[in-house]
Symmetry: C2
Subunit: 225 residues, 2 copies
Amino acid sequence: LTQPSVTIIGGTGDQGLGLALRFAVAGREVRIGSRVEQRALEAAEQVKQRVRGAAVSGLENAAATQRAGDGIVILSVPFEHTVSTLKTLREALQPGAILVSMGVPLASAIGDVASRMLTPAQGSVAELCASLVPDGVEVVSAFQNVAAHRLAELDAPVECDVIVSGAPKARKPVMALCDDIPGLRAIDGGPLYNARYVESLTALLIGINIRYKLRHGAGLRLTYI
Amino acid sequence: LTQPSVTIIGGTGDQGLGLALRFAVAGREVRIGSRVEQRALEAAEQVKQRVRGAAVSGLENAAATQRAGDGIVILSVPFEHTVSTLKTLREALQPGAILVSMGVPLASAIGDVASRMLTPAQGSVAELCASLVPDGVEVVSAFQNVAAHRLAELDAPVECDVIVSGAPKARKPVMALCDDIPGLRAIDGGPLYNARYVESLTALLIGINIRYKLRHGAGLRLTYI
């Protein structure tokens, strides 16, 4: 009964690397993907230096995805790179793989955060991803609202809930993945359709971070659950 | 330095009455409005019976709104009655009044909760309200995600955050109103535009209530703030 491995596409970015560190601490097998293999190798080295005995490797994105087999592949790239990245992964994604969408449809324009939300025709980034993956690959929405800085502070629990949406069979291993990280709690977010509500919440949270000068970001918790 | 009074249109419904009870406990002057005066009077009587010394009265909706003067008027009606109710209040709303929108654009259709969300052309129920009130009346969005049952249990704190959005001058007294209720915390939600994110979150929360069989409803909290 081995746990599925986790592969993080765009794993050299702040949020992807933060997740890689946390999963490595939990003893999960971690693959870091990057467009440039050398950067992935460097990020993997960083994780090994912070986490003794980490089972982590660095590979170019498509190679990492292929190696993931039917494991979990987290897509951690800025929204504007979602489609181009998925295009490079399509051939590499194996049947049975679970693709985790953590993207948020925010335009990187100047101006008020709330008014920078885009709405993909599919309703959400997660559903956009679902429209692009090969048959046999399930998409699950999760991790949108976990601040990178909270993940990187390995000594502190991450006091956040993660709303996990997608087909039940795929949702469960991703919810189990959340349990790897102390303080993080997975909430069953139902069908992938609901990703739109979680993604748009991010615009609200970013605005709150700005108004309250929360440099490291507010988190989300549900009470009475 | 008297606190502004609070008038609850649709104050005989579960959520409106719950708020009336809590504000009465806090010593705030409360007006309960209903389409039918007799029902408003009965609800006010109920509040008096539960809260010793409550400063509460019951009136027909328009009369309650007129009496509110430049106080706070909370619109607590089902979404489908938003426009018709506002039509009856337009003449009664006084300059300087603050109208609080707590509505959520959910169709009362059969079927999955998430897919029952409607989107008003204005973007949110709150902005729909703002398009209908007379000049000099500000609209603030708040209280969407506070479960009626939590409000009615007067002995227990309400462990929820309330995201308050609207023009800064109107937002502040509504945030202060939240402080009336133990456990409730007001979060500065920025401009009224953001109401759309708070309202749509409700669809997600209702789905979670169903999946987790939370008869009394989950609440929202922000961490690290």
